[in-house]
Symmetry: C2
Subunit: 372 residues, 2 copies
């Protein structure tokens, strides 16, 4: 097993620090070993700090980011529930699909790919569908690079008795994100983006209004694996009240512990500022190369750019991979062949990587790279 040492500048996974890889390879404990339970409790507490929340029910779902989305949906939605989902890219489209599989009546609030939603548009959607019980929205649309503002959305949802569910897969640990201050009721993320941990876990957090919604369910959660009514007895049971549910991915939990420790050693504010600075450095360089962004409001963590006329999409990506060992992302869904996605996430958001990818891209496009 000798995988190449890539420079991971795609939409995730992001580069994983050696410290995290070493933690991953620590001796496997049993999932009910007191030592492991301490590690897992610490992971939940570290996640609270990174999510900026005091939500007791904050834990890593034993699956990748899409399992976190599904966990939120199956627990918060019952058949026949009306919900509003913002659809402006692949992940909003998926959230609509996942909600419909839970029996929800989904009112899609649509925007062109690359655009985001205004609070006025969201308010209008609730005016049109006043019975909607949940607003689902993607903070960081990984398919378009669009950065959705979240402030003020909770107030709109709450005025209609609805919950606010946020997809933060590509923003947690890289963008400003305040679960409690912004009154987000439920949120999910992934480990392999701005936390710079390998993929395999999906951090989630559920606030008191989300828990009340779950407690009032009339139907059983359709997924046993993701049923929070059982998971909470393991993840927030504490003391003697902890009940076994499933065997957690133990070594991945070690890795997440180390990755979150690194995030907090750097400090959330400093880390967010670093992502902003690296994005700006990359943007200047890309624009100097004559490249244009897809989204109006770009994420700092993911830069989605239009493939210039005449450029060979697959050929450029292959040269970047083969000559430089650099991975960037292809366009996803309707953006296939039209966009490239350059991720600057977590451990990958460095001056070294920004200047490297600019030099490499300039070379592959036969364009002189301006000094960044």
């Amino acid at each position: 097993m000798h995988p190449a040492e890539r420079v991971l500048l795609g939409p995730g996974p992001s580069p994983v620090p050696q410290r995290v890889l070493r933690a991953l390879a620590a001796p496997t404990l049993g999932h009910l070993d007191p030592q492991y339970l301490t590690i897992m409790d610490e992971v939940c507490e570290l996640l609270r700090q990174v999510f900026r929340t005091r939500n007791a029910l904050t834990f890593p779902v034993s699956g990748t980011g899409m399992a976190g989305m599904e966990c939120a949906a199956v627990n918060l939605v019952e058949p026949g529930d009306e919900v509003i989902v913002g659809v402006n890219g692949v992940f909003g489209t998926r959230m609509k699909d996942v909600m419909e599989r839970c029996g929800a009546v989904v009112h899609a609030l649509e925007a062109p790919w690359g655009e985001t939603f205004t609070n006025e548009q969201v308010a209008a959607a609730f005016a049109a569908h006043p019975k909607a019980r949940l607003l689902g929205i993607v903070h960081a649309e990984t398919s378009t690079g669009a950065h959705q503002p979240l402030e003020g959305l909770a107030a709109i949802a709450r005025s209609h008795g609805a919950l606010l569910l946020v997809d933060a897969v590509t923003s947690l640990g890289g963008h400003e994100l305040r679960v409690d201050d912004w009154e987000i009721d439920a949120i999910y993320s992934g480990t392999q983006k701005c936390l710079s941990c390998p993929p395999g876990l999906s951090p989630v957090s559920f606030g008191p209004r989300a828990l009340a919604r779950m407690d009032a369910r009339k139907t059983k959660v359709q997924s046993w694996y993701l049923d929070v009514s059982m998971l909470r007895k393991y993840y927030s049971g504490g003391g003697g009240g902890r009940v076994y549910h499933h065997t957690a991915p133990i070594n991945m939990t070690y890795a997440l512990h180390e990755a979150l420790t690194i995030v907090l050693e750097e400090g959330l504010e400093a880390r967010i500022a670093r992502h902003a600075a690296m994005h700006q450095r990359l943007r200047r360089g890309l624009e100097a190369l004559g490249l244009r962004y897809v989204p109006s409001r770009s994420l700092h963590t993911l830069n989605c750019i239009r493939i210039p006329d005449g450029a060979d999409d697959a050929g450029v990506r292959r040269r970047l991979l083969e000559e430089y060992g650099i991975e960037i992302g292809a366009g996803l869904g309707p953006m296939a062949g039209k966009a490239w996605r350059i991720g600057l996430m977590g451990h990958g958001a460095t001056v070294r990587n920004v200047d490297l990818v600019l030099a490499a891209l300039g070379n592959c496009l036969n364009r002189p790279a301006a000094s960044a």
Copy 2:
């Protein structure tokens, strides 16, 4: 992150070889990197060998063993389907629950905990419920240590047009298991038992009759994350036809690759014989200590014994853990306080561990350990 080096002799996780931990810590590749796709294709091929199947759709689900169970259920069952589930322990009980969450009408074929089912009992269940479309049965009941014979069950199921679904979480890689010869239509397992890989993936395999059942579905699979109609485009897409679904747990896939390689280096027959021999060695020692088995037909991989009168359940397990660093399992569900579970799985099924746990248990019970 400095977890203790335990001797893992519980119901899983089992001890993980250093080779597997080193593979786990290899550099993270992207999930669409050609190198990673090769590794993943190899994992699927290695799994086919370990499952003894030629099923094209053989892959690791991105979750722990219970995600594998749920993957089988959500894809093979539609609302209103009648199914027969063998219930003689925690995992049969869970399978019934999972099936019901999929809308199945479950006919529970029950046996006392610790017992198994005869082919005659299964035939009688089909006679009573001739419309049953699936038989779900647990090969290795981790809660009781009972070993369910599987030969002949497929013929009974097929004579009623039903599929055979097998839970092989605690048997794959440790017990005789022949998916194709025994005409098993669908099967799931876990990585942290007899494969001696950390938990986090669930190997599954679906045969042609299972795929035909899925292709004939009238309803959408209720889980997006586990929807095989999409997963198969990633795992058996091959060449240019591969379609991204979710970000696979990349480093866990490395670990599984190494774990399966070790299994096949030893050879399946030799490995199964080793598990049998270690079970017999342990059984002789336990019986010399005056301990009795719970199940009539014990697994080799998991030894479920009655806690002797007067012994302090939690106290003995705590001493084993604190003085010896040995983990054994408590009783699960109705067996809590009544049974201990000693796993001899994969890398853990060694003379050294058998004689160690016998010595330690004899000491903690104040019983002289007979020479094993």
